[in-house]
């Protein structure tokens, strides 16, 4: 783990909320997705507080001032936690069971990482936070004095939604396809950054030429 240049602090901040980010999912979509995940795996006792935590971020008037290094630390912690869970299950059971447990619990394992972004002042994080090789290459480029492009920033809202849907699909439920279709269409409809705002969802096809 690399050394931190700015300490993690929980000082109050009045920066923009996560939902104001152009690639943030619309309100309550992630909360409902978490509840659906809890319903799929009969883990509502975890899903309800997790959904509340995720949705409360849009209303909270305080933020953590997290640096890039802090995000990397949280990512590393999530990875270590995942590896520990995998290793302990692999020791006790077979590969197939380990895989299904990993799929089931992966939203919870990466929830701290997602929350760190939701409750951070920046509202997004560099894409290379999750890529060791990209971080290393960037560090070498910096040392060698090569020109560095600004880091590409990413909002984890939709990737985390995808993770929830993937995890929910690990079990066969009759409502899975409608849930996926609803979540995806709502997500696309609210994504005005990539999709023309002048095309409302219900008249997409007639309007497009």
């Amino acid at each position: 783990m690399t050394s931190s240049t700015s300490s993690t602090s929980s000082n109050a901040s009045t920066t923009s909320t996560a939902s104001s980010h152009p690639y943030a999912p619309p309100p309550y979509l992630l909360g409902f997705a978490f509840l659906y995940w809890g319903y799929s795996h009969s883990l509502l006792w975890i899903a309800v507080p997790a959904a509340v935590l995720v949705e409360y971020a849009a209303h909270a008037d305080w933020r953590w001032n997290l640096s890039e290094v802090d995000f990397v630390r949280v990512w590393n912690a999530s990875m270590i936690l995942t590896l520990v869970v995998l290793a302990s299950n692999l020791a006790g059971g077979g590969l197939e069971e380990t895989f299904s447990i990993a799929i089931r619990w992966i939203p919870v394992l990466f929830l701290p990482f997602f929350l760190s972004q939701l409750y951070s002042t920046s509202g997004d994080m560099p894409l290379n936070t999750v890529a060791v090789l990209a971080r290393r290459r960037r560090r070498l480029d910096r040392i060698a004095g090569r020109h560095l492009e600004p880091a590409r920033m990413v909002h984890l809202g939709y990737p985390f939604l995808a993770l929830l849907l993937l995890s929910s699909g690990a079990v066969r439920l009759p409502l899975f396809l409608p849930a996926v279709v609803m979540a995806t269409l709502v997500g696309l409809a609210f994504n005005h950054r990539d999709r023309p705002r002048s095309h409302p969802l219900v008249i997409w096809l007639p309007c497009s030429r």
Binding site: Y23, L140, D141, P196, R197
Partner: protein, 452 residues
Amino acid sequence: MKNKPGPLRRGFLRVMAPLYRRMTRRPYRLGRRVTPSGWLVFGLAVLTGFMGIDIGRTALYQMFVFFLVLSVVGVFSTWFFHPRITFRRRLPRYVTAGEAVSYQAEVINRGHFTQRHLSLLELPPAPPPSTNAFVHEVEPGEHTRNWFDRIFAFYRWTWLVEKYRLVRSEPSPPVDVPPNASEPTRVTMRLTPNRRGIIELGRIGVMRPDIFGLVKALRFRRGPVDELIVLPKRYSLPGLSMPGRSQYQPAGLALSSAMGRSDEFMSLRDYRPGDPIRHMHWRTWARTRRPVVKEYEDEFVPRYTVVLDTFADADPDDCFEEAVSVAASFACELDTQESLLDLLFIGAEAHCFSSDRGARQTEMMLEVLASVQLSGAAGIDALERHVLSRLRDMSACICIFIDWDEPRQALVRALRANGIPVTPLVVSATLAGEGGATVLHPERVAEGMVRL
């Protein structure tokens, strides 16, 4: 030149250069056509395709089918994007290398329907790096790369592509373009020229996202070819005082404008063969029946010469680019109301550009500097001959070199031996404090120029 490669290495790089050129010649990367939503949906389609193979155990195959349908419909809908638009640019006359510029494009929709959410993107020519540059120029910190990257030097190629990219363009903000509008729709375009030169802007990319916002349809439209003159960047020269005395400038008089002492009438005298016809005083000739000419006060102004060194095979540390910027700085900062300026350099042949009075003259000299190129390592003798042939008109000389070897030092010695005050400047990343010359590091030219 640092770490000159051996013949085997040179041969290998010469073989690799055309391959890399072919690999990187696509003007528009796929990555910029797929939106972030598109990457996520396509990625999920692939992932669920693998994870949902066992349809008896998971429901992920349903997700796979849905995302596959979304992707296919999204891509398919872009095929029907055929905007009938024409455009015209409103470009500024000059821009400066490294400075972003905004301008307007006027777009007319010739179709029957409103074109919604259109973005325009300039597609300027992107000449690939030359094989010579690939062989000789070394990426900063290349020795820190792993052995594979050092051998194949693909990172060097991508670095050179970026280095020699003429201009960076950004897609315009999306606009709706109505059909049959009385006025064209104005779109604000933005681009950043990376290097000096003359950039031809011809075709343009017209983009629109598909119905789901996963992929952007891209169509190319040809329009009027516009030229954008990118001037070299300039540095300020505070408190510049040039040596050299004023001297009689008969040629300068002939070229100069109406300002200054040169047009001050002194007397009339009889015509002598060789006097310019425009100096004839026609009324006195008619009255006295013998040719009479007007005599003007002689003009004494200093005439400075800027000598630009163009002799190198490649420009690994951007020394030549910085040398051109230094020359441009002198062209801008020297007061051409009170002096004359000549710019000497060797390109395909010997060039001498003289500026007289006025801002337009300075612009013309900057235009010349915008297109000056390296002329190869050999030929410094030609420059010396060219410079020494102009000693008679010279008050002082500023020599801007990119090396400080014996022929260049000999040129400076020859000028000094003829009584010409010389200011030798060497733009170099490797030399430091060379005797008799001021060394400017290419990354710290601005600091060095302030100290002149």
